[in-house]
Subunit: 745 residues, 2 copies
């Protein structure tokens, strides 16, 4: 055991290396599979080329951003704090690893799609194997690279700032190490902004643009190879659902670990790891979760055509969660001392526990982790209920489609708003419960527990768009009925996992933001965030408003970007003769470039709001007002995220229900019926809701929190922009009791 | 002057009596006007009967509610505090006066409508005079009865609890007097819940129901007398826009005065009014505002046909605001002592100023009032920009209508979300600015200043639906072109005032809630509302969610109630022969009853949420968590209110723009074009947004705040639902500094 006590810190990146090794094996296996015949391979090639074109264009812009932001971080660092130039390195590494994980995942996803189609010619079991293995490459890549990056940087910074200086593991030395480590999380979340928000705008711009010109103007079917935007549309699925979701969860995964580590520093622990067990714990839990995600993935298989694909995924998911939970129980008991912890916020300056401490046992820490696992599971289940076919919410939208477009929209908006209730109650109970167990460290470790099996969650998420693309390729290549039946089966399951994955992503963003929020308050060294103060309350209002303007910008951006796409497609039809006769290949990459450029241009405004607001508020009004803004943006962002994602998901499945036929007041309605047309309107409104503005709320709330955490050490605690407030402070001690006035009239 | 120093308190109700006297003269004048010939009078009679039928049905339910709630208040009062049985009387008086003001206003509005039509046969000037005078009856009735009620009850409670006991005007005696006075505000706001939420459901249920069966199924035009629901539809305009808005503003008006009085108690003032000048000030300002509203109303007139009606209303509005502001300047200088105030929250226990005081001059108090006036004006102007024809937001929706229903909806939702930005910045600046001037008393008195000219605001608001009804009657009676041209002119202005009125109502609700929030914290005696505490943060999330479920319920209720209306209309068409041939009169009152019953049944669930949530949270989790819930509900409610009201208003005017024809990409589009059809979808979605769920946010946030204020004295400060939290408190003083662990690996 002594070996582990001394070297655990060095073993953490090894977990990540194991994940990457397994990922490499799986990626190689996918690539080795049969990619099918000429037609299929060519279609898949277009999609893969389009995806790479997107990545190249994105990286070009990203590299400018990373260099500028890195220089700003380094420069501002030298003026306000000695440690901060290093933070720029941390930032660049985080940005690079997140982008690299996205590259790996999308690269394999765009190979797995056509190989899934080909496998579906043999059996459903084989098709599931190829598509799910493709998904695990994204899952393992994200988790593996995150652990390697965070773990390695922690070793470096811990060695430099704490070990080599003999600094206090509960004091400033460790605070400095974690402060520069926060740059890694900032880098990761910045890439997520581009991937999730930009990707969300991209995919819906391509989707809407392709439909408007192709289906409406040119009269060719959806997914027709003659449409220059059709490849962009298919690329969009990968960009949004694979890379976007991956970057989102990469960010949450890293940020929860980081926030728990920051709060863990404040715990005085008499453990065998030199007192840093509470800091190491979240990374080790993540490492175990990665290992058990690999184990769980092995359970995802079926043998007969009639076996349930959903059940196979569920078994794999539950296996990884339960095994991780059991392993975590033993881990906590091994790493943490049996006796009670003391969190001594008073000596560290600030926090709600000023003048006091909080005690908890290692059992309490495990309790908080269980709370996190339960919250994540419930959030996914609730999301599924509100967006699933055949359940009350979607059935209500179907029924209200019979009286027209407007009532369909009203029903969907009402479902979206209603769907916030249970998730918020679960979340509020989760905050209350995890705090009950282990204070603010409990809230953070609950988030870390929930995120432990990120590799598995993301594998299941990425399986969806692969299966979706596989179905599209099968349809475009006119493969036999039984092949399309198999891919449809996988695609249907993918729709469900997409919905539950969104619930998980929102829950993770919410808990991550809360953990970051708690870490921010600790690092900023403020005592309260008192909304009874007028300026903090004003901050709460401003924060609450930001998700509304962010959503408005994202939604409008889709409209504008779709228009740019429409013009490019019209130009190609006009200027390239022979497209309609299959004699000339459309310039797919031009559409991809248009969509990419438009999406990246359109996300500048919302991105700047998220990045700059905390800096302006923090430096002008101080950390307490910034805390008010963060609370406002988190509450409002979670609500708007759930509202928009679930409304969009419900509209989508209401529309899909018409494909099999639905019964309204005793009559059957199918595709092309009036109620179906109304449901298509709802689905189109829901598209930017569920794939652009809704999921971008995750990034917004996390990014604003992580920016705040990074600037927290440099904020002045007593900011008084108003002379009157200074006078108040001045007069606090000098006012003598006043004589009571006569109280008669 | 001595007379005034001694008797000012008794003069306050006199302001109200003056208002009621002028109202009576104006009402008599309206009734005296020519009600036109047979057809017109009959139509107006149906509408007036329908309105009374609604009131009777509403009052029946209301009387149960008032008796039960009154008994609960009285009973719970005897168990927790000696003063509280009296609060039940206060509650009943508030409920009665609010209902009575609604009765008076609607009664005259339903007489003024047809008389406006008749006057329009003569001249535009005369038509404006009749319709605006009808509106002033509502305005003066609301303001007059509110001042009489609040002023008289204050005299009674002040005499009983303070004067006769020789109690401290800054201490418990005055606190008790104001505590029971809060019942008046609770009663008024409860009626507002029924009038605004129920009325909102009513008017849209009737509107949608009448359209679906009449226009779609029976093929008869809108506003056709053969449609049994058409009267309910016209009644709905009065119910929603006259009575609903009136009750809303009655509630805000009373609540701002009350909250300022509660905070004024905490000010130690060496004035000539026995130290209660800060408590009396808001009521006297309201009295002056009422007088100058009467003066301002005299400016609302035109002489020529070509004169601008909007300009006449603006002149009247500005006259009353400016005169009130000038008078308030002298009033503040006369009532408040020149020297500095001391607000001594420490002795009163609690508040952000614990251990300190805040100083401000009478000039600062006037500054805060000016802030309130500016906030109200800006909010109205911003609302107008976002909902007016010819401005960028509405033009954007029109342009996006050209690509279909879905893009129209997306554009409207984006406009609604974007429209939250400026109002929130204005509101946040207002909070910051008024607090800067005079602390929390400043925030409250700013709200009181803004509400001072409520009589004028409401007169202009109520003018709108009267003109709208007048136009409808003119159209149904097929009066000459020039008459309808005049009523159209008035109606167009009414649409603008409806939009600005909504902006004012939201601003007033927001500032009122903040004032009540500040008063709640003071009365509850808590020191902070610290969102860094896990339970308070959980409360913030739950509070933020409530406007979403409230909106979802309100929106769904409109759908269900409209369906009930549809069935009743179908039944009448089936069972009453001769309706379609004008041979039999439809049973209008049955539709009115259906709509009323449905609306009142449907508002029980949202109403209970608003009433019961604060009670449950307050007694189980304590006042600080309740403070978190209130902050959450206020921020989220203001945002959702602005979002929904402005989206609805913008959709409405986008649709209206097609009536005159709009140009999209160089082509002209009119009614019945495809873009127009898309704009109708947006308008239908916007109907419940702008007339049901949006405005009901005002009531939600005020009602939850006032319930909290009423229960505040009975809440235990140190609620510990969790044994762990008790342990924390216990261990705060007993933990010794811990020895630092070895920090080597």
């Amino acid at each position: 055991m002594d070996f582990f006590y001394t070297n655990l810190i060095y073993l953490i990146p090894v977990f990540g290396l194991v994940g990457i090794a397994v990922m490499a094996i799986k990626a190689a296996w996918v690539v080795k599979q049969d990619a099918g015949d000429g037609d299929m391979a060519q279609l898949a090639g277009y999609i893969a080329d389009g995806a790479m074109a997107f990545l190249r264009a994105e990286w070009k812009i990203l590299s400018y951003f990373v260099v500028i932001a890195g220089l700003l971080l380094a420069y501002s660092g030298t003026t306000v704090a000695t440690s901060s130039p290093v933070i720029a390195i941390s930032f660049v590494v985080g940005a690079f690893l997140s982008a690299f994980a996205g590259f790996l995942g999308m690269r394999i996803a765009t190979k797995a799609n056509v190989r899934t189609t080909q496998a579906a010619r043999t059996s459903l079991a084989q098709a599931l194997k190829v598509s799910f293995t493709g998904g695990t490459v994204m899952g393992l890549g994200v988790a593996g690279l995150a652990i390697i990056g965070l773990g390695s940087l922690f070793i470096v910074f811990y060695t430099i700032y704490v070990k080599n200086t003999g600094g206090d593991v509960n004091g400033d030395a460790m605070a400095k190490a974690l402060d520069v480590l926060a740059g890694f999380s900032l880098g990761a979340e910045s890439i997520a902004l581009f991937a999730r928000v930009g990707g969300g705008i991209y995919t819906k711009a391509a989707d809407v643009g392709a439909d408007l010109v192709g289906k409406v103007e040119a009269g060719i079917p959806e997914d027709d190879v003659r449409n220059p935007a059709t490849i962009a549309d298919n690329v969009g699925d990968n960009v949004g659902d694979v890379a976007g979701m991956g970057a989102d969860l990469f960010g949450s995964y890293v940020a929860t670990m980081l926030a728990t580590m920051v709060l863990g520093r404040e715990i005085v622990s008499h453990d065998s790891f030199g007192g840093i067990a509470p800091v190491l714990l979240p990374m080790v839990i993540a490492g175990l979760g990665l290992i058990f995600s690999i184990v769980g993935a092995a359970f995802v298989k079926i043998s007969k055509e009639t076996d349930s694909v959903q059940r196979a995924l569920n078994i794999g998911n539950w296996a990884s969660i339960i095994l991780t939970a059991i392993a975590t129980f033993f881990l906590v008991n091994w790493m943490l001392p049996a006796d009670i912890f003391h969190m001594k916020r008073d000596e560290l300056g600030g926090g709600m526990l000023k003048g006091g401490s909080i005690e908890f046992t290692r059992g309490d820490v495990f309790g908080a982790i269980v709370v996190g696992l339960v919250v994540g599971t419930l959030m996914s289940m609730i999301t599924e209920y509100y967006t699933a076919m055949g359940k009350r919410p979607v059935l209500g939208i179907i029924r209200q489609s019979s009286t027209g477009h407007a009532t369909n929209i009203i029903a969907g908006l009402a479902v979206g708003m209603e769907s916030t209730v249970l998730p918020i109650l679960v979340l509020a109970s989760g905050i209350y419960g995890s705090y009950h167990f282990a204070g603010l460290y409990g809230v953070a470790i609950a988030a870390a527990g929930m995120m432990a099996t990120t590799a598995m969650q993301l594998s299941i998420d990425a399986f969806g768009p692969i299966a979706d693309n596989a179905g599209g390729i099968a349809e475009m290549s006119r493969l036999p009925e039984e092949v399309r039946h198999r891919t449809d089966n996988l695609d249907a399951v993918g729709n469900t996992t997409a919905a539950t994955g969104k619930g998980f992503a929102i829950a993770s963003a919410a808990l991550t933001s809360l953990a970051l929020f708690a870490a921010f308050v600790g690092v900023a060294g403020i005592e309260h965030i008192d909304i009874y103060k007028a300026d903090v309350l004003a901050g709460l209002f401003v924060g609450g408003m930001i998700p509304f303007i962010f959503s408005a910008l994202a939604i409008s951006a889709v409209g504008r970007a779709a228009m740019a796409m429409v013009e490019e497609v019209r130009r190609q039809f006009r200027e390239i003769p022979g497209i309609m006769e299959y004699k000339a290949k459309p310039e797919y990459e031009k559409c991809v470039a248009i969509s990419t450029k438009a999406s990246i241009r359109e996300m500048v405004a919302p991105g700047l709001i998220a990045l700059i607001t905390p800096i302006i508020v923090g430096f002008i009004f101080g950390p307490e007002v910034l805390g008010g803004v963060l609370a406002g943006v988190t509450v409002s962002g979670v609500l708007m995220g759930i509202f928009q994602s679930n409304a969009g998901g419900a509209w989508d499945n209401a529309k899909k229900s018409f494909e099999k036929g639905v019964e309204i007041n005793g009559e059957m309605y199918y595709k092309k019926s009036e109620p179906h047309k109304a449901s298509v309107t709802g689905d189109t409104v829901g598209d930017p809701f569920k794939d652009t503005s809704g999921p971008s709320m995750n990034i917004l709330i996390k990014l604003m929190s992580i920016v705040s955490l990074v600037i927290a050490p440099h904020l002045q605690k007593d900011v008084s922009s108003s002379p009157r407030l200074q006078r108040e402070i001045h007069t606090q001690s000098m006012i003598a009791p006043v004589t009571k006035p006569v109280n008669k009239i």
